[in-house]
Subunit: 226 residues, 2 copies
Amino acid sequence: MNIAIIAAAGAGTRMASDRPKQFLLLAGTPVIFHTLKVFEQCDSIDEVIVVLPAEESAGFLSLAGKFGVRKLARVVPGGATRADSVKRGLMAIRSATAEIVAVHDGVRPFVTVEELDATIAAAKSDGAAILVAPATDTIKQVGDGAVVKTLDRGTLRRALTPQCFRYELLREAYQNADVNDPSLTDESALVEQLGKRVSIVEGSARNIKITTAEDLAIAEAILAAD
Amino acid sequence: MNIAIIAAAGAGTRMASDRPKQFLLLAGTPVIFHTLKVFEQCDSIDEVIVVLPAEESAGFLSLAGKFGVRKLARVVPGGATRADSVKRGLMAIRSATAEIVAVHDGVRPFVTVEELDATIAAAKSDGAAILVAPATDTIKQVGDGAVVKTLDRGTLRRALTPQCFRYELLREAYQNADVNDPSLTDESALVEQLGKRVSIVEGSARNIKITTAEDLAIAEAILAAD
């Protein structure tokens, strides 16, 4: 059984709004339900666990009924950090039949079913796989107020989600993790620290993370262009 | 005398439009004239050289009159690559009194007068300085279809423009440069290759490069939020 953990516990403090960003309306529908629709449509996913701010639980469940989220297995209250929230989602997996866990940002609605399928398939084969996109900017390594060097853009990728792992491997990675370490920006880094291979799956730059008002404007533009 | 080279010779092939992206309308005004307005307002800049597709010259000059671009010194036809275009702009500088050259993308209208001032001041003091912004994504170094390592985001910056240099230093950097090398994504890299210090000036992530239809939508959103 393949299980998705949707990380959506952020308070949205970077958005000039009193609503967490995952609940802002995109073409009339809360962002997170755009995201969940992709997981509903993806045959590689059997169950979905959503990690939310504790106070959003009740409202979410009523909306989940309205939007017909059939795969929703559990709603889990989030922690203080992203890593803590994902760990809580992981601990909520009770099934001994769990095979692949796909961790995905609730505010990335533009992932496609094909990208999700491909990343899960790569994790099945290799143990761990993440979706990535090209680095579009010139990236400099810096130190002491100056450029140290220009990195070869061809060897760089931006880490997106989903990040998919064999269940036991992700459990092991989180076992000793300090979930309060702010440098822990993704699950892949934890698995890399174990010395395990994390395969990459080339994805689209459309799969943006909606964290600011400008991002929401881009998202509307992406939808309008479809 | 401090001279700006505005690189605007791109044909805009990434934009689903028959107009080069620097001429698309942003709040009713072509993007490049938003950009030029900042240089008009900046007391650190004495003259502006604009590098354009050859066929855009006449139309541009008539618009430049309309928008009152008083500092425009020359319009130069662009080359096949960005580096070639900037080099042509550089070769058009005739003044023996040239002190600092500020290279800027025509499609970055959101640079501020303060950022321009600060980058020019740093180049005066250190020889070379570029405006940068934080790397917002997790960046992975990859190879053979897998992650090699997660880079420490704190030591990474995205290179923006302006990139400012002492005139003689930039001349020297371009002297031996292969302007057709596609890996040459900015002027800073050329100066780094000489082993010279390139200082960084921390700028705003608002200073985006408008290269796609989505970027134009973001730009409208940024203007609307002001």
